[in-house]
Every structure is written in C-alpha cells, then in structure tokens.
Amino acid sequence: MGMQSKMATFVERMHEVTNFDQFQHLVEGLRSLYQVEHFVYHSINSAGEPYAALTYDIDWVDHYIDRDFGRIDPVVLGCFQRFHPVDWKQLDWSGKAVKSFLHEASDAGVGNQGFSIPIRGPSGQFALFTVNHRCSDAQWAKFAAENVQDLLLIAHYLNQKALELERGTDALPNQMLSPRELDALTLLGLGNSRAHAAENLKISEHTLRVYIESARFKLGAANTTHAVALAMSRGNIIV
C-alpha cells in the first residue's frame, strides 16, 4: 500500500462524522493534514442562523463577534454573493478600520496568507471555507497550486456534511447516481482503462472524466478508485 493521499484521509474521517463535535474535530484535523495553521468553516443557513467550526483562538472569535467585524472583514465582503475562490491578496485591505482589524487579527494569531471559498448551498444557505497560514508569498503560491482543487472539494464536502447534520439525515435527495455513472464506475472497477471504459460506453474520454468527476463528488469520494470502492460498499455497483 502506498501512502494515502491527504484527500483520502480527510474523506475517510468525514464519513465517520455523525455530530457537530466530531465536525469541529474534522476541521481541526485539517491543520496537521495540510500543514497549515488555520481552517475555518462558517455558514449562514436559510433562516439566517450562523454556525462555525474553526481553529482560531476562541478569544479572537468572541472579540470578532462582539465587535461585529463581519461588517468590515474584507474576506466576508469579498466572498458574499460570489462563487469563485478568493486569495486574500486580491482583497481590499485599505482603510483605517480595516487596517486596525487586520492588526488585531494578526496579534490574535491569524496568518498573513489566506484563501477563501464561498459556497452557495440550497435555499439561500451560504458558507465560507477558509485556509489561513503564515508564510511568504512564494511559499503560499506553491501551497495554493498544489492544494486548491482539494480545498474546493473539501469546502463543498464540509458544507454537505454540515447540512446533513443539521437535517439529521444522510440521504441527499439530489445525490443519486444515474445508470450511466454506475456503468462508468463498474467498468473502471472491473479494471478497464479510462480509454476502454469510454469506448465501451461510446463516449469520449473527456466525457467519461466528467461523469466520473460528478460521481466522485456525489459519493463524497477522494478520487476515482475511492469512488468505485464507495459505490461497491454501498451496493450501488457490483463488480
């Protein structure tokens, strides 16, 4: 067995989570997995109720809420109503109030680098997933290039898990796999190459990749192999 990917470790842990305490641990565990200082998952549900699982110092969190820093926080303002990933360097950190906020955040242990991913959930639900670290611009650029696709998936997986915990069910009605996706997973599970599987299904290899990518996301899987394994263990496919 080779070394398990970070993503595989994360999703393995995620599938074990059944309550919000474990969810908090899941978010905390990302730190050692990705070797960065902080992770924040923050959501506002359709009723306007906030929820957060994060690794910032609790005194800083209380102070942030107390001072209502969400009104001026460039991360919140820059991500609200958006759906593209945002590097904190792209944000507007000018202005007296914002500079003072940044200074306080830094004193509280918030790093100088950040990457935030806005998530649009169902019925107006909104969430923000942030990774934060203290390092040079060059180190950060390297980290981002290597990990952003993982983080995009993790952001959405965390949001689905939080919604699932809130609803008290693990059945996501829109996450059904179509017969075509099951065929694709079955063929790969039987050991076919992507090219063979695509040929068998009379689709292009790019199309197969899109079908597999969709199936991977719906199953909450780390990668294609894991998607096949999950579909098998849940009885979706038999190989």
Binding site: H84, R120, E181, R209, V210, F217
Partner: protein, 212 residues
Amino acid sequence: MIQYLYADQLAQYPDLRKSMFRDRAAQFSGRLNWDVTLNSEGFETDEYDALNPLYVIWQQPDGTHGGSMRFLPTTGRVMVNDHFLHLTDGVTITSPLIWECTRFCLAPNLPPTTPISALLMLAAAELGRRFHLAHAVGVFDSHMVRVYKSIGWEPDILGQSESGRSAISVGIWEFASAPLATIRAKAQVSPQIAQKWFDQAFQSPDIRRKAG
C-alpha cells in the same frame, strides 16, 4: 476589453447591461428562434440570470456589448441539469471543479475585424486556469460547434437536440488541455493582456493602484 462581471455588478455598466440583454434577445429569440422570454425592455433574461451568475463579456470601445457568456457553478442550479438531462445520458453533472457556460452570444452586425468569439474563449480558458477548475459544461446553439472548431478549442459533444435552426448541443471543455497558444493567436492577444483583464476584474481597486 474583457470584463468579468457578476450580475450584481452589471448595474455599474448600464449601457453594457442593456446592450447585452438586447443582443441576447436578437440572437436567441430572433436569429435562433429559441423559446426564450423577453421582458418589456426587450431584454432576454431567464431564471439563471437571477442567480447572480458571472458574465464574461467583450466590451466594445464605445462601452457596449460585443459578445458574452454566462457561468454558474454546477453545485447549484444549472440549465444542463434542469433541462437537458436527455442530452447527457441522464447524468446530473455536479462538481465544484465544473462550471456551466451558457448563453454564448455575439452582437449582431459587428465588423469581422475583432475576433470576439476567440477573445471570449481565451477569457474562459483564463477563468478556468485561475480558478483551478477542471471542466466547463456548455449549452449552446449547435451551429457554434463550427465556430469553436475554427478557434481550435472544440468541446466534446455529449448530446444534441434534434436538428435545424434551433438545435441545441451540450458539450464539455477540459481546461488543462486548452490549446492556449492557438486560441491566443486567433484572439490576437498576448498572455499578459488576458491576465491583466482577469486581474482587473478580481483584484481590489486598492491593489490595482499599488501595482500601477
């Protein structure tokens, strides 16, 4: 220039907004005879325009619309999953790494001197690269296949509805394999300019001032 604008930013560009939705009416209702809705101002808009999508727009020197397309993440509501499952073998396409691209539109009667389609394709490639996306899934008028082919970045076609004037195709593009040099040559734009348009859209005014 290329503008990347969310719907809630369009109000800052009233001429661009008006001309874009009117050009969409001319293309989708007029030329293509699609079953689309026009409002009292003669704008073609649909329910997806109400989801605050991201528009990629070629803005002409006079400030009006030259061409555009519309992006939404497939993790939310998108046309391909709501209306075109019969063209995707019944597969609901959903992933944070896949965005949907719809309403590829060109202003009517433009002089052929500006390669607007290629500029839009280049802007889409830049968007995919900078946002770390894997694929785009598009819903487009089937005649566009020829245009995409001439630019050198053809989608893989998942399915096509009937034939004739109003035929609709669903296709996918993989960002990692975009032939950037070919598209740039067709668009007659350097990589630096394409990057600058993107940076102008997604960096704060403060940072742009510092960068000069």
